[in-house]
């Protein structure tokens, strides 16, 4: 079998992979290959036919396919090579990549690998939602694909569990296609999705959102016939006596996304339990030298714009890595206080500015985010409101880093 050498192999032709490819090429790294398992580039954006993309990155409102096309056009113009309909089977820590398509197996050896595989949806089994297992239960992204890409209507009488963004988008989509969405049930006391989606997808269509509610039983042994919903207490436990039966023919789950890191694990890449994505340094380099990660494979983003921007930051690091054959060591650890869910990156060095991305664990009002190095506060950012649904990005100037001590990110009101 032939071994093909490449400077950079990018796994995944979605927003992260595309943005990284374009910028690498513009930076002079031209021996690159994008490997994409679907028939076209664009990733999950292909099925996101609603608008709201691009406000940050392009300063205009685009649909998902339009947003992706901006990058695909550049990939085509620059003649960046890509392989579609091709699935990567495994990668190794010495940066060998094995992929497969209808023409056979392909083996690549790369100087750098960019992980841009995105994420997958959490399923019913992962949540152990009790009850029967009839037809008519699916995740929001699967329903979105059926309706928007496959022209298949999955149901007419819909209940949605979880208020993640895709679930909210699908509540509107179902309604526009003539289905009845009876309600969105969220176990937490606050929504998981963005405020603008609550407004534009639920409130504008009079779809009720029930906070602190969850599904405690599923009925129907052929096609789903209904669900039992219960209120939950402050520990998220169902309160006996609050059960209510809702009939439905479809149950849509929008209960979280999980970075898809099976390939990363093959290569020995260390994952962060909080993000379920790789642990990365300020260069977006994982624990395996020469393997980098950005986008939803690294941590689940709220907006695709931030995916592209993160991948572009990664592209600068990869450019430097290919040109110098190494990157400065990052040994300063970024810790989090109890109300901060995680940070990306998890390690930095003090020679470069970096963007700190993170989420809070619960909503806060009129608060300040503090970044401290030892006792020294190196950055303060004030916010009227922060919510777990929104990712926070703070740019840190390397000149503010005074020592090799660890950093800590915290929040105070």
């Amino acid at each position: 079998m032939n071994l093909i050498n490449k400077d950079v192999v990018i796994i995944g032709g979605g927003p992260a992979g595309l943005a990284a490819a374009v910028l690498l090429y513009k930076n002079g790294i031209k021996d690159i290959l994008i490997i994409e398992r679907e028939k076209t580039l664009g990733g999950i954006l292909r099925q996101c036919i609603h608008d709201g993309f691009g406000l940050t990155r392009f300063k205009e409102q685009l649909s998902g396919p339009e947003y992706a096309q901006r990058f695909i056009d550049q990939v085509e113009e620059l003649n960046i090579s890509y392989q579609i309909d091709t699935t990567v089977l495994n990668i190794t820590d010495d940066k060998m990549i094995q992929a497969v398509n209808r023409n056979g197996l392909f083996n690549y050896k790369a100087k750098a690998i960019i992980l841009a595989m995105g994420c997958r949806e959490r399923t019913r089994g992962a949540l152990t939602i009790p009850g029967e297992r009839p037809a008519g239960i699916m995740t929001a992204g699967v329903a979105q694909s059926y309706i928007n890409l496959h022209n298949i209507m999955v149901g007419k009488d819909v209940i949605i569990l979880g208020s993640g963004d895709i679930g909210l988008i699908m509540a509107r989509r179902f309604t526009l296609e003539g289905a009845k969405v009876k309600g969105v049930f969220e176990i937490l006391p606050y929504p998981s999705g963005l405020t603008r989606n609550i407004e534009q997808c639920l409130n504008d269509y009079n779809i009720p959102l029930y906070l602190s509610h969850t599904i405690t039983n599923i009925h129907g042994n052929a096609r789903i016939t209904g669900v039992t919903v219960s209120k939950v207490d402050e520990n998220l436990k169902p309160i006996p006596g609050t059960e209510k039966l809702y009939t439905c023919d479809t149950l849509i789950l929008s209960v979280g996304l999980i970075p898809e890191n099976e390939l990363s694990l093959d290569a020995g890449v260390k994952l962060d339990n909080r993000t379920r994505g790789p642990v990365v340094d300020g260069n977006y380099q994982t624990s395996v030298e020469g393997i980098f990660a950005a986008g939803n494979v690294l941590h689940v983003h709220d907006l695709v714009d931030f995916v592209s921007i993160e991948a572009e930051r990664l592209a600068y690091s990869v450019t430097e890595y290919i040109k110098n054959n190494s990157l400065p060591k990052c040994e300063i650890i970024i810790n989090t206080s109890k109300d901060i869910n995680y940070t990306v990156p998890q390690y930095i060095d003090k020679t470069k500015d970096f963007t700190l991305s993170f989420r809070v664990k619960r909503p806060f009002k009129n608060c300040r985010i503090l970044v401290k190095q030892g006792e020294l506060v190196i950055k303060i950012a004030a916010y009227k409101k922060v919510i777990p649904a929104e990712m926070i990005n703070i740019l840190i100037n390397h000149k503010s880093l005074q020592s090799d001590k660890d950093l800590e990110v915290s929040i105070e009101c």
């Binding site: 197996l105 399923t123 009790p130 037809a135 209507m153 052929a222």
Partner: protein
């Protein structure tokens, strides 16, 4: 006009399929009626998937006899029928003096039953075998193993079909009449059948069918058990099934590796009246995880990918005492072979039970060999299990082998297409799942289900509204979005 058969088997679970396969060795016109759209829809596909050693059953019972026989011959069967099987061995782990005594007794019973290689092992040896287990000592059964229960049932049925047996799915039997001295009339929801002999392999429906045949006095207890399926990620931590010390009626909550590389945790055992309800409760999931955690502390919610349940048809006498397998040809109801109470170890015992059915028939009829009988069956070649050279070759011969449809289990389009055109003619989405492992992985079909639905449409020229998930009327879609 009704179709006339020599033998009509009711139920296409592992027992009905094994009986069909064993009878297809003879020159007989045979059919199998199944109420579900596929084989292994009930107890045969909803269990621990363990090939048992035969030590947990009372001496002299058919359960013990058939189980030991089935266990010892399983390598040959697995090879003949191309069924994934591993003789992993199994441990029953204990820590108290009582446990020690029970295990010693279990070994004695096992040896009397003919179970091979049973031994009591100390903690060091236990930890060598299963480094991740908690316990002071164990009974080791080297002959126990794990099997793909779906593939096994499918293989038996496919082999029977290839040897001339007709399978009728979604043919629930509603009544049985004695038509003439020679023929039974079997009425189903889809028409009538005539047959000289009836073999009742109806599992959970066996008492109902017995009643239709005029055989009374049996009482079933449906023992329902729930299971949790864990991610493959931790599969390497469990080289063999780990069980607690059993009682004579219940094996206890255990952890078992599956042939696909997952780990399953379960089951509890609750008597139920509704044999069609397979729902799992939150309470039971918590209960299972807590119990099994004491044996094997690697059960974490973040690894849950699915749960399921199964119901065992136990024959309980009037005092509620658990009875042996019933394999009988009752004199008062001629031309019937009646199987009742075929619960665990039914999977292990399927072929031995089937041979006993053949022997009962031989007492009444002279059987002539089916000259064309071929005991071998080939399954679908799995891309993911092959080395690079074979993979290249498979793709060169059929480019569909280069198209990964299910990313979690590495299932290609070639495998999906072969599964859609399976010899039994099953076209449910779950049928494709049982035949390929697609949709069984950690994303549970999030990536591949829509692709598989599309391939079913293309291959079988179906409307979207005719795609069935698993059971009758489990239609997946209501129509198209646009004309």
């Amino acid at each position: 006009m009704t179709t006339k058969y020599d033998i009509l088997i009711i139920g296409a679970g592992v027992i009905g399929s094994a009986v069909a396969r064993e009878l297809s060795r003879y020159d007989l016109k045979i059919c199998v009626l199944e109420k579900n759209p596929d084989v292994c829809c009930e107890t045969s596909g909803r269990n621990s998937a363990v090939i048992h050693g035969g030590f947990a059953y009372e001496i002299g019972t058919k359960k013990a006899e058939c189980c030991v026989e089935g266990c010892l011959e399983f390598d040959k069967i697995a090879e003949e029928l191309d069924v994934p099987f591993k003789r992993t061995g199994k441990v029953l782990v204990g820590s108290t003096r009582e446990d020690h005594e029970s295990l010693q007794k279990t070994i004695e019973i096992g040896r009397a039953n003919g179970s091979i290689g049973l031994e009591l092992i100390d903690k060091n040896r236990l930890l060598e075998l299963v480094p991740t287990v908690i316990g002071e000592f164990a009974m080791f059964s080297p002959k126990s193993g794990i099997v793909d229960p779906f593939q096994y049932n499918i293989a038996l049925a496919e082999n029977a079909k290839k040897n001339g047996v007709d399978f009728y799915f979604e043919h629930e039997v509603v009544n049985i009449y004695r038509k003439t001295d020679e023929y039974w009339l079997i009425r189903t929801i889809q028409g009538d059948f005539e047959t000289r002999w009836v073999v009742n392999c109806a599992g959970l429906g066996s008492v109902k069918i017995s009643g239709m045949l005029g055989i009374h006095g049996y009482n079933l207890g449906g023992s329902k058990g729930d299971y949790i399926v864990l991610d493959k990620r931790i599969g390497h931590l469990l080289p063999m099934p780990v069980y607690p010390v059993p009682t004579t009626t219940y094996m206890g909550i255990h952890v078992t590796p599956t042939i696909g590389g997952n780990v399953i945790v379960g089951p509890n055992a609750d008597y139920v009246d509704d044999y069609t309800y397979y729902g799992v409760t939150q309470k039971n999931i918590v209960f299972l995880a807590e119990n099994a955690f004491a044996l094997w502390p690697h059960i974490h919610k973040s690894d849950y990918i699915r749960n399921y349940s199964g119901i065992q048809p136990k024959w309980l006498d009037r005092q509620g005492i658990l009875e042996d397998f019933v394999i009988e040809a009752p004199k008062e109801v001629p031309n019937t072979i009646n199987l009742v109470g075929i619960e665990s170890p039914g999977l292990t015992s399927a072929l031995p039970i089937a041979r006993r059915v053949v022997n009962l028939l031989k007492e009444h009829e002279q059987l002539h060999p089916n000259k064309g009988f071929n005991p071998k069956r080939k399954g679908i070649i799995r891309f993911n299990n092959q080395g690079n050279e074979v993979k290249e070759k498979l793709i060169a011969e059929n480019p569909d082998y280069g198209e990964i449809i299910c990313r979690c289990e590495g299932v290609t389009k070639a495998e999906i297409v072969q599964a859609i055109h399976n010899p039994l003619g099953v076209d449910t989405v779950t049928g494709i799942k049982y035949r390929t492992r697609s949709m069984m992985g950690r994303c549970q079909g999030g990536y591949c289900q829509m692709r598989i639905a599309q391939i079913i449409q293309e291959e079988l020229n179906k409307n979207v509204t005719d795609i069935i998930y698993s059971r009758k009327e489990s239609n997946m879609f209501v129509g198209t979005v646009r004309e």
